[in-house]
Amino acid sequence: MAIQTFRDAETWIGAYRLTTNLHAVALGQKLDEIDATVFTDTGRRLLGGIPDHALNIEGYMDEANAGAAAEAALGEADTVFSVAPIGGAGGALTDVAYLGRALFGKFEGAVKVGDLYRFSLGGVCSPGERIVRGTLMHNATRTTSSNSTGVELGAVGAAQYVYGALHVIAASAGDTLDVTVKSSATQGGAYTTRLTFTQAAGITSEWKSAAGAITDTWWRIDWTVGGAGISFTFVVTVGIQTP
């Protein structure tokens, strides 16, 4: 094992990268405990009930970024988030990432004289949804169309879904960005489109999913840009999980 200290945890909420505003991120995953103990049992019989997953962040306020992110997310259903605990800027394409959609319902900001403006933002996953444990697939600025190198994430079982989160955190004016998630049976083989994000013409975020079964095990991100003076900074996280 490797005991890890976390210094580069990346966090994106909606169309904002909050990494440089935060000092703590907590991912809570909980199931209701249902007591199903019956006669003849000698010990408790428990079953998992409804999932209750949540994301809480703490940091120092920068109104232009963290403030704008909180304003956009607060009270807004299905806000897309991604957290890459060891995914420093430009993190490796195999770094673990958690992705999901949440309703951020709680914001607290506290200021004392002569002190920093500290804030916290908390959200719970959208109804019926969980935090998905996936992979950071893209985190860079692009000026031309291309695709990422295939990464082996595995197949999508019949009862599973492939989930994708797109965060476009910087966009050149008047230009467009089209992002797809594709899969293939081999790293160098022909890739099939599995998730297609809506064309971005500015900063935005979006969540997509597709049901299994998908037997392909290799996955990559394709992006097509249009316009002049193009520059898009975007993040894509992908995960395969049972709902």
Binding site: L31, E33, T42, G43, L47, G48
Partner: protein
Amino acid sequence: MAVTTYRNVRVTFNAVSWLSYHPEVTLVRGFPEIDITPMGSTGKKMIGGGVEAWEVRCRLFLDVADNAIDEQLSGLLADAQAGTSRTMALILDKDAAISAANPEYQGSGMIFDYTAPFKVGDVAVIDVTIKGSDGIAIIRDITP
């Protein structure tokens, strides 16, 4: 009694050893206290309920690497949601044979929640509780 320091306690859950992740392990066993105090009593009269509840609390250093503890926990939550209990074994000294002085506690349980706290420059320490979930009391095995 023999005062002992413990350095080799090992929890194995779903056939995976957590030895290298946990600095602290706590076994909790209990029965409900049922008050059967009748009229005329001058003190409480209690009996233990017939169904044991047990849990093993582990403090873990989180490792998010591929196939490491974080990925295991994620799968174990999915198991709980699917109603699947997983085997648990807790032995006080992993290097010694099972005996009356070194029992192994065995059962089947689930994990229902955990929170991964990432703080800048810090190790992520998480507290995970395995709860007995298959309707069977924990077994204290002393058979070598």
